[in-house]
């Protein structure tokens, strides 16, 4: 039966130089002429697997067979020559060139041996456009066309280079609903013409709608291959977001106090016109950990950006202890007692080339107790930093060491030490334990619980289901920019229920969601 597979990836393992195993012994087989879904959460290893199939990365071990022939895909050029094409999530187009010029880039038709044959380029574009029923305007500049058409250009670009197997990396992420419907019609059309499509996604309803079979990845491992018609959405969600290891955190029952953070009707439309926040309203009280769960890209990042003035919402209000924090400088926000553990610690959390000491006092270096006249009071700075290093068990030689020489876990501890120690009334913790070791993870989680029990309000955003469910006292699920569900008590929740809300299979009524406003 081996001949029916156009792509066979056998026992693929990929270990990156930094030691992270993105794929472990994954088998991935695609039949000719099918639409095959590759599913999994962010970080499950989908993109890595497809990068290897397109020659952008090489597997550490394992074999790749294309059309029954063992291949060594050392570069995208080799992959293209084997008939593999990829439509990247971030378009590989040159904005100021026309659609036709983008189509023929790298294989430009010439006239008189020297000049670009524009007419021929347009002809080629029109021919493929007609043949595959993908409507594009050959003479329009790419920067002037809508996102949906850009995607068609990308698909045509792959087809014109002779691709028979098309990898589509989250093709619907940037599309509107109508554009998505149109794309699906075109993909089915391609399938009917004998093309094979690999469809990367984590959106359940899309997968159910157009794919024939699916391979589910979780934590870099394959969770098996399934016929789409034989599995239910519930089963898929369980396979995708199920929990493996459970780290228990001891915590007493929360005693919520007064309202600290109040967010009402927050709305945000991103630069591509997609609604990322849709009337988000909630309240967070003293001594409570409110978790936000959800598949990445459903508005969590945007919400945090708004609350810390890294972006400006289109509408809505947000207050801390009754004072507005929207459009207010970060210094003012911090003065109101708000702390942020940012998602991207290397970019927003630390200054890599600065020392541990400098990073730790960055938010308080102007305070009286650290200064003597116009100069720093180095003695009290040293004392404070040494205390923090000890309290937060940062493994380092001294406070003057460069912070980017530390391990990820210790860098995060430096961030956390600064953010937790300035007497906050609200901590926004965005993916506080992503990519760090178990020890540091446990430490940070314990600290969060400790602080909340001492009366701090904690907003915990995490893609790690285990983390949000263990730590949170109450929990919201975000899906499509909206709060899809609110659970007052997390102790009774199951993964399955969570998965259904996260993937948009279920949604609570507005009244149920409104409970999170505590009005």
């Amino acid at each position: 039966m081996a001949e029916e597979y156009v792509v066979q990836m056998k026992g693929i393992t990929k270990v990156y130089p930094n030691g992270i195993a993105a794929n472990q012994d994954v088998d991935f087989n695609v039949r000719k002429g099918e639409i095959h879904a590759l599913m999994g959460e962010n970080g499950a290893g989908k993109s890595t697997l497809m990068k290897m199939l397109f020659g952008l990365e090489q597997p550490t071990s394992g074999e790749i067979w294309v059309n029954g022939e063992k291949v060594n895909l050392s570069s995208p050029a080799v992959a293209i020559s084997k008939g593999i094409g990829m439509v990247h999530q971030h378009f590989m187009l040159v904005p100021s060139l026309t659609v036709a010029e983008n189509m023929v880039l790298g294989m430009v038709p010439k006239k008189s041996g020297l000049f670009i044959d524009q007419k021929k380029a347009v002809e080629i574009t029109e021919e493929y456009s007609r043949k595959f029923n993908l409507e594009v305007d050959p003479n329009a500049k790419v920067m002037d066309i809508p996102v949906g058409m850009k995607q068609k250009v990308e698909i045509l670009k792959a087809l014109v280079r002779g691709a028979k197997i098309l990898i589509l990396d989250e093709p619907t992420a940037v599309l509107t609903t109508q554009e998505t419907t149109e794309l699906f019609r075109e993909l089915v059309n391609l399938k009917n013409q004998g093309y094979t499509l690999i469809f990367i996604s984590h959106k359940l309803n899309e997968i159910m709608e157009i794919t024939d079979r699916m391979t589910i990845l979780r934590g870099g491992k394959s969770m098996g291959v399934h016929e789409t018609k034989d599995v239910t959405a519930e089963e898929i969600s369980r396979l995708m977001v199920g929990r493996d290891v459970v780290l228990k955190v001891q915590k007493d029952k929360a005693q919520p106090g007064d309202e600290v953070l109040r967010v009402r009707d927050l709305e945000y439309v991103n630069e591509w016109g997609k609604k990322m926040l849709d009337k988000v309203s909630f309240s967070l009280r003293r001594g409570e950990i409110l978790g936000i769960a959800g598949v990445e890209g459903n508005g969590q990042k945007e919400l945090v950006d708004m609350l810390f003035h890294l972006n400006v919402p289109n509408a809505g209000t947000a207050t801390v202890n009754g004072e507005n924090i929207l459009g207010v400088s970060q210094r003012k926000i911090r003065e109101k007692g708000v702390s942020l553990v940012p998602e991207d610690r290397m970019l927003y959390g630390i200054a890599g080339a600065a020392s541990i000491q400098e990073n730790m006092i960055a938010d308080r270096c102007g305070s009286k107790r650290l200064n003597k006249g116009p100069m720093f009071d180095m003695k009290s700075i040293h004392a404070e930093v040494d205390q923090l290093i000890q309290d937060y068990t940062v493994l380092c030689k001294s406070g003057s060491q460069r912070v980017d020489n530390l391990s990820g876990g210790n860098i995060q501890k430096v961030v956390v030490a600064r953010e937790f120690s300035n007497n906050p009334c609200l901590i926004i913790a965005d993916q506080p334990t992503r990519g760090i070791d178990v020890g540091a993870t446990e430490f940070i989680r314990k600290k969060l619980v400790e602080l909340s029990r001492a009366g701090v309000a904690v907003l915990l955003v995490s893609a790690d289901l285990n983390e949000v469910m263990e730590l949170s006292d109450s929990l919201m699920v975000m899906c499509g920019g909206r709060i899809a569900a609110y659970f007052e008590d997390t102790s009774e929740l199951s993964d399955e229920v969570m998965g259904e809300y996260m993937l948009g299979l279920k949604r609570q009524t507005p009244e149920e969601v409104r409970r999170v406003c505590h009005e």
């Binding site: 040159v94 904005p95 790298g106 280079r161």
Partner: protein, 320 residues
């Protein structure tokens, strides 16, 4: 007074003065299109000017000198590319190094090569280049007899004509040839270019080589026509003014040519005015002042345009 300044001689001199700036500007245009900021144009012109004038003297032929000047221009810029692209040094710092070589290194070489010692004046090759070595001028048949236009357009150094012809050729190169398409795509989205098999490295080398070729023309024009010999810092900021002209012309060949003409005009004006007895300390800064004003104007226009785009897209959003 005005009549004394704005006569045919004056307009003739604008074209003459613009030519070397224009060469360098075209180099900057093609470089920027490929995403290569060649700020070493000034130094490259100095090196080309030196070796152009020396080989002209040795061979007795301006043609040989010109070829050597072009060769030097390309060589220096490719070397710059090697440092910047292969050895990953910062291209701006590399450009600064080239400019320093162009300033101090050339003077050193002149001393070593010509054995001239620093007497009353600094070492130079001005004594070596005579009228016989000068790149010839061309009186255009028919056109030269047209009143007013004739004396302005005819009788220029052949390189002046080459400079303006190259504006058109550069445009053709960028917008009508596959190479130009590749250059533009590499400058705008190198990932897109490499994903379809265009070698980004190769295209960048071609672009910086082209800008070196243009600097070679400019250098040859300076030492073998304009100044008749090489002397210290003779390029006098033309390589930098070219970068300003590129920016003001929005990186397009024709627009950049117009900007170069503005600078040519400013320089011609300052020369003319100072020859009329006005303190040269007052008028020499004019071209540089125009450069600054030009860049400010350009920045304002750009900001206005960006704002308009923003408000347009914001309107679109609310409409949805």
């Amino acid at each position: 007074m005005l009549q004394l300044i704005f006569n045919t001689d004056f307009f003739f001199s604008i074209l003459r003065i613009t030519a070397p700036i224009l060469f360098a500007t075209l180099g900057a245009v093609v470089g920027e299109k490929a995403g290569v900021s060649n700020i070493g144009l000034e130094g490259t012109m100095m090196v080309s000017a030196l070796f152009g004038s020396l080989t002209t003297y040795w061979s007795g032929s301006w043609a040989v000198g010109l070829v050597v000047a072009l060769f030097c221009g390309v060589l220096v810029s490719l070397l710059m590319g090697f440092f910047a692209f292969n050895l990953k040094t910062d291209i701006i710092l590399t450009g600064i190094a080239v400019n320093m070589i162009g300033s101090g290194g050339t003077l050193f070489l002149v001393k070593v090569i010509t054995q001239q010692t620093e007497g009353k004046a600094l070492a130079s090759t001005t004594s070596l280049i005579t009228a016989a070595h000068q790149i010839p001028s061309w009186n255009i048949p028919l056109i030269k007899d047209i009143p007013i236009l004739g004396p302005i357009l005819s009788g220029h150094c052949i390189l002046t004509y080459v400079a303006f012809l190259l504006v058109f050729l550069t445009w053709v190169l960028l917008y009508r040839t596959p190479l130009g398409l590749n250059i533009r795509s590499v400058g705008e989205n190198p990932n897109a270019a490499s994903s379809v098999g265009v070698s980004v490295l190769k295209i960048k080398y071609i672009a910086i080589g082209f800008s070196g070729l243009m600097a070679g023309f400019g250098g040859a024009f300076m030492s073998m026509y304009y100044s008749m010999g090489w002397s210290l810092d003779m390029v006098a900021g033309r390589g930098f003014i070219a970068l300003a002209a590129q920016a003001m012309g929005a990186g397009e060949p024709v627009g950049s040519m117009l900007s170069a003409l503005v600078f040519g005009f400013a320089q011609a004006f300052s020369i003319k005015v100072s020859s009329k007895g006005i303190d040269s300390n007052l008028v020499t800064p004019i071209p540089y002042l125009v450069t600054i004003l030009g860049l400010v104007a350009f920045a304002l226009v750009l900001r206005h345009r960006v704002k308009k785009q923003h408000s347009a897209s914001a309107l679109e959003k609310t409409a949805k």
